[in-house]
Structures are given as structure tokens and as C-alpha cells.
Amino acid sequence: MKVRARDPKQAWTEDFESSPVRDDGIETSTISGVPLKPLYTSNDFPATRTEELPGQFPYTRGIHPSGYRGRLWTMRQFSGFATAEETNRRYKYLLANGQTGLSVAFDMPTLMGQDSDAPTSRGEIGHCGVAIDSLADMETLFDGIPLGEITTSMTINSPAAILLCMYIAVAEEQGVPASVLGGTLQNDILKEFIAQKEFIFPPAPSMRLVVDSIEYCAKEVPKWNTISISGYHIREAGSTAAQELAFTLADGMAYVDACVERGMRIDDFAPRLSFFFDAHIDFFEEIAKFRAARRIWARWMRERYGAQDERSLKLRFHTQTAGVSLTAQQPELNIARTAIEALAAVLGGTQSLHTNAMDEVLALPTDKSARIALRTQQLLAYESGVANTVDPLGGSYFIEALTDEMERQAETYFKQIEDLGGVIPAIEASFFQKEIADSAFRYQSELEQKRRIMIGVNDFTVDEEVPIDILRIDPKLESEQVARVREVRRRRDQARCSNALTSLRKAAAGKDNLMPYILEAVRAYATEGEIMNTLIEVFGIYTERAVV
């Protein structure tokens, strides 16, 4: 009997349909709910598609033609300690061991623009980072560290302009001109309204401060990355990958709009904008997300904003592996999770990467777990071979189809945001917050129904002690910091400080760029709280319209 040759794709379809199907009830869509086919073929990859290449518009395959062959990603591990002195010691240790980039985590009162002796700072000092109340603390933090020779990343938002001015002032004292200072300021207030909720002022004056800092740095601190437009926090708050992508890029465009409205030329500031994404556990979706991000940004910068400088079109991003994917139970598994997530970031072409330590759900990482986290990156870079080819997954039927899908979903969100009148009206209409809350709840429901699994949490559990251990803040620390800030207030030139704050208040009520005024206040040892309160007098305090 002659067997007629079947069309291979048809044959596969028939064979697949008569194959057994897993009946464990686990979702086959991505963690964000994007339905996945069991197989992608050339049918998903039309021949008419133009081939993309790294270093070429729209940069889907990477912003540099040589990828990691040219230069590996930066291994930049975020870390924070309670006191300026302790942190200063750690910085010196790291620098002595060859690290050239520093990272500053601040404590809650500092992040919220409060002095350590404010009543609502009680119990909050030093827990998640260093307490900085005034220039005096900043001087201690960077004592003996040559700011002209290193770069520093500062993770702070509402009071970001103040901390940047403190950094500039310390450099000044070292004889280092602002024009050579390099580093990054997170300074992304829009995602605070959307996800992290560390906002203080209402959206409009908050944006003004961001634009002031971008405008000022474009002239005075040209090597500084003025903003790290973040999707990480949005994702950690429960959004899907598509939402993370769309909301972050929409925020980026809102900042660009604001700067253009201020009168800046796109190519004067866009090259210094940078991004910060999450690397979650659904491996391929993350890779597609990163690739789509580059493509979308490049198109919008060129087509909507008319950017000419290539550097304005190239989306640069830092990635952190997903904190929310880590479990307190069987924490060693987190090493494997982090490795998978880091691999996704690398295959997605990240410029720099932070890998979480395995015990971060429970505690500030031990030296050993912090080292393993760093080694994980080194393993990828030097042992696994994934850095040897640029965008190795480019051309994969699946990855390209998923990249296109991410882009499509993002564009749908852009339209919705535009229909609402833009990012700020959408924030005030609680659009983002509702999407995020819905996604978070949906995911939790899926977990509870075991349609998604978290090993050790809802399946493959073991009976074990979960040793949660947090950094114990010595209560003495709080009283010492309180004493310190009071001492600074006592000893400073009161007239100079008072004048500086008065000038700042007047300028805030007007249209001047506030950076020089904040810088003067900082030099006069006005405290962070005093500067913030002065601005609050003019700008007011924002209360969110919470949606559950």
C-alpha cells in the first residue's frame, strides 16, 4: 500500500491532536495570561518580514551591533545599610575590590522626604537603607570616596532632586566639578503614583521637579542619567508583563512630552533617559518584552518626536530579577529562579543586571548568598556561552511571534491611555492602579486554584521551619540619628539657611528651575524635611484615590 506523503505541518497537527494531553490543570498561557500555542512554525513568521539586525533601527535585536561580544552587561548589585558610616565602610571595601559603581538605598523616612526626628519617622529609621537628613550625612556617606572616579546610582523618587543636589555639593567640597559626575537617579515619580506610592506632591508639581532636574543636568551634569523610568515596581505591584511594558513606556513618553513642552530639544536630553525593568519567572515572555521595549521606544522617538540622534532612539535598561517570584519556603530554590530570570534578562539584552539573593524574602542577604547572586551572573557571562552571540533567539518563530504580541498589547494600552487624556489623567482616573489590582488578584486566584504553581508554597511543599530574619536596627541608631539632625540644625548658619528656604519657596511659586535653589538650601544645611516642607507649602500634598 502506497502511503501518501502528508504535508509535514498538517501531519504535526493531526499527530498533536491525537496525542495525550496533560491533565494537571496548570495554565499553558504565560504568567501574564498571553495564550501560547503548543508550536510556532514558519507560518508565524511570514517571509515578507524584514530581517532585523542588532545596532540598527528599531533595535529589536539590541542597541549595539556587537552585543555582549563588545561589552558584557554591568553587574550592579543594589545594596543598603542603616547608617552613613557603615555604608561608607562597605563602599570603600567594594571599591578596594575593584567595583567601580556604587548604589545607594535610602531608608523610608528619607524616601518620603522626612527628617529622622519627625513623629512619623519613629520606628522607620534605617530599616531599608541609609538615613540621610542633611548634607552632613551625605558627607559622611561619601567620606574619602573620590566622586570624580566612580559612578553612583541613587534609588529615590519624590525627594530625588534634593539628594542629587547633596551629591553635587559633596563633590564640590572634594573639588570635583559637576560636569564630570556620573551616575543615575531613579527620579521616576509617575510610577510612584501608579505602583510604589512614595509620592508626596501632586502630579503636576512633581513633574515640574523632574523636568527641572533633567533640564539642569543636561547643561550642568551632562554625564548623569537623570531618570530611571521604572517598570520593576509596577510589575512587583502585580501587573502583567504587557502592562509593565506599556505603562513604563507611556511614563517615558510623558516625561519626554514634559521636557519638550519645557522647550528642550529631544536630542539634548533623550540620550540620558534610562529604563529599569523586572525579570520575572516566565522565561520567554520576559525576553519578548525586552525586545519589544526597544522596538517600540525607537519607533516612537523617531516617528512621534522626530529624534535624530541615534542615542535618543536606543532604549537602555537595567534589570532586576523579580522579588515577588522568591519564596520564603525552600529558599535555596530562589537561586535557580534567579538564574532563570537572569538568563532571560541577558537573552533580552539588558545593559546592567541585579540578581536577588536567595534569602531576600526573609532578610538582608548574608555575605554568602550575596556572593552566590553575583556568581550567578558571572556563570552566565563566562561559563554558559550565552554572551557569545548577539540576540541568540532572534529569528525563533516563537520569540518573534511573542515579541510582536507584546508590542501589540502595549499599543492597545497606549491607545487607552491616550483616550483618557494621557498618563496623568489616567493616574487620576485610577486606570493603572485598577489594572494592577485586577492582575494581582487574578494571579493570586490562579495560585489558590493551583492553576499556577509556586514550588514550596502551593505545591511540592515540605514541612520546615521558615527562618525569617530581618536586619535588627539597634534602637540606639534611631536616637543617634535624631540627635545628629538636631545638632546640624543648631550649628548651621541660620540666616543663610533661612534665606535659602525663603528663596526656594518664592521660586517654587514661580517658574524658575528649582535646582539652583535646592542646591543653595542644601549647602546651607537645610534638612531634607525642611526643604520638602517648604515645597509642600507651595505644592500641597497628594492623596491618592485608592482603588482596591
Partner: protein
């Protein structure tokens, strides 16, 4: 409840009661928050009873009005109670009326009721409040036509909130034309006001309209009429509730009775039989 009623009777001092009703998303909570702020500026004390629907399946609810009024947290002369509608068919639970009397006894000058306009809840508010305010917004989809007919009759004041949005003028115009077609019953002509609650705009004018309505109720004698009618209605409602409970309890405890009911299918006779019994 009897004991409570007795204990506050002598201290009864009727507070002014204003009801806000309207579809979800019209900004009622923000509007009420603005009115509370205004009243506090005038040194009045105010209690807010805000009702949200309970899930008919689980009975649960997220009562989301308080969070819109955070600026009044810790103000001892502002009291906010969030209430679930709890399956009471009208949407407003029976306890509201007694709560209003209690709040008056405790010295609150003003009571504000707030409820979502689902089911018959507008009628419930109107039955309890001196002044009923219906809140609308410009993005109403198919326009004012979609508004239930009952609203036109019960509204003492119309508020078009979010008046800074497109379509605001159209809503006002449509509303006005619908009102002009309505039968001329009462001498009070419900004003149509524009507010932007999020910016505290139009709130003063709104309160002025409320006071004007109150003056009308007094001078026309309607206030007294309403008070009498309401006490009668409430008495009937309480009686109905008591009867309802008695019947349920009897059927739960008396197996013979329940069995007979099932066999013979005679709810009317069974009900009368139960109510004839000594309680």
C-alpha cells in the same frame, strides 16, 4: 431596639438629612467629601452614612466611601459609617432611620446619606432624606434618556458632577428638557447645578440649594407632612420586619407546621396562622 428608642426619645433633635444618590462612578463620595469640608468650615458637625451594595452571592462587600474622605480622619465632629445594603431590597438598610435619630441625639447637626443608584435605592433615600440630590456625570453613554424615570420625581436637586468634562452642557440641556415635560406637581423646581467635586468647585452653591430647599419645606408645611408620613411608613416597615422574622422562626422551630405548609402549599394561611399565635 425598643429600649434604644425609649432611651433617646427625650434627646431627639432632628438633624438635617441630605441624601446623595446616583450611578457608580459619578463621584458621589468625592462630592460628599467636599460638602463635609464645607460644613466643617461653617463649624457644623456632620455624620455620613454611606451604603455600598453587598454581593448577593457571598454577602461580602468592600465599603469604599470612607477612603474618599480621608482628610476628615480624626476630626471628632465628623463621623463616617459605611454600611452594606445587606440584601434589603431597597438598598438602604432599615437601621438607617434609627441611626439618623441616634446621630441627632448625639448632637450631629447634619446627616448625609450616600448610596449607589441601583435597584430602588433612590426611592429609599428619598423616603428618608429631607433633600434628595441625584448626581450625574457627562459621560453617561446613551445620555440622560437612560436615567430611570423614577429619578426625575424624587430629585430635589440635580448635580452634574465632573462638569469640566466634555458633554456637560448636553447633559444639563437634556435634563432641563426632560424636567419641563414632567407633570407639574410640587411648587419646588429642582435646580440643576454643575460641580467639579475633585476641585471643590460648585460645592458652596450646592449647599445653598440644600438650604433653600429646606426653607421651602418649612414654609410650605411639607416638612411636617413628610415627617408624619415617614413615621407611619417606618412603623409599617418595622412591623413587616418583625412579622418576617416571626414567620421564619416559626417555620424553623415548628416541624409540623412546616411539614403541613410543604404538603398543602398554603403560604397565606400559614402566615396568618403564625401571626395569630401569641409571640
Amino acid at each position: 431596639m425598643r429600649a434604644l428608642e425609649e432611651s433617646i426619645r427625650d434627646r431627639a433633635r432632628a438633624p438635617g438629612v441630605v441624601g446623595f444618590t446616583g450611578a457608580p462612578g459619578t463621584g458621589k463620595s468625592t462630592l460628599v467629601d467636599g460638602v463635609v469640608a464645607l460644613l466643617r468650615k461653617k463649624d457644623s458637625s456632620v455624620a455620613v452614612l454611606a451604603t455600598d451594595p453587598n454581593s448577593p452571592f457571598t454577602g461580602g462587600a468592600i465599603l469604599g466611601d470612607r477612603i474618599r474622605m480621608q482628610r476628615h480622619a480624626l476630626d471628632p465632629r465628623v463621623f463616617i459609617r459605611s454600611m452594606g445594603a445587606r440584601g434589603h431590597l431597597g438598598g438602604l438598610s432599615l437601621a438607617t432611620r434609627e441611626a439618623i435619630r441616634l446621630l441627632g441625639a448625639f448632637g450631629f447637626d447634619q446627616v448625609i446619606l450616600e448610596t449607589v443608584g441601583v435597584g430602588q435605592s433612590e426611592l429609599e433615600v428619598a423616603a428618608v432624606a429631607d433633600t434628595t440630590i441625584v448626581v450625574l456625570t457627562p459621560n453617561l453613554g446613551d445620555g440622560v434618556q437612560m436615567i430611570k424615570a423614577g429619578i426625575l420625581e424624587i430629585a430635589d436637586i440635580f448635580v452634574v458632577n465632573k462638569a469640566d468634562l466634555d458633554g456637560h452642557v448636553r447633559v444639563v440641556t437634556e435634563l432641563r428638557s426632560m424636567l419641563s415635560l414632567a407633570p407639574k406637581g410640587s411648587p419646588w423646581k429642582p435646580p440643576i447645578l454643575a460641580t467639579v467635586a475633585a476641585k471643590q468647585e460648585g460645592i458652596e452653591e450646592l449647599w445653598e440649594a440644600v438650604l433653600s430647599h429646606r426653607r421651602h419645606l418649612e414654609s410650605s408645611g411639607r416638612a411636617r407632612q413628610l415627617a408624619e408620613q415617614r413615621l407611619r411608613d417606618e412603623t409599617a416597615e418595622v412591623a413587616a420586619e418583625i412579622a418576617r422574622d416571626r414567620v421564619r422562626q416559626a417555620l424553623a422551630e415548628d416541624q409540623e407546621l412546616a411539614g403541613r405548609l410543604l404538603e398543602e402549599g398554603t403560604p397565606y394561611r400559614t402566615a396568618e396562622e403564625i401571626l395569630d399565635r401569641k409571640p
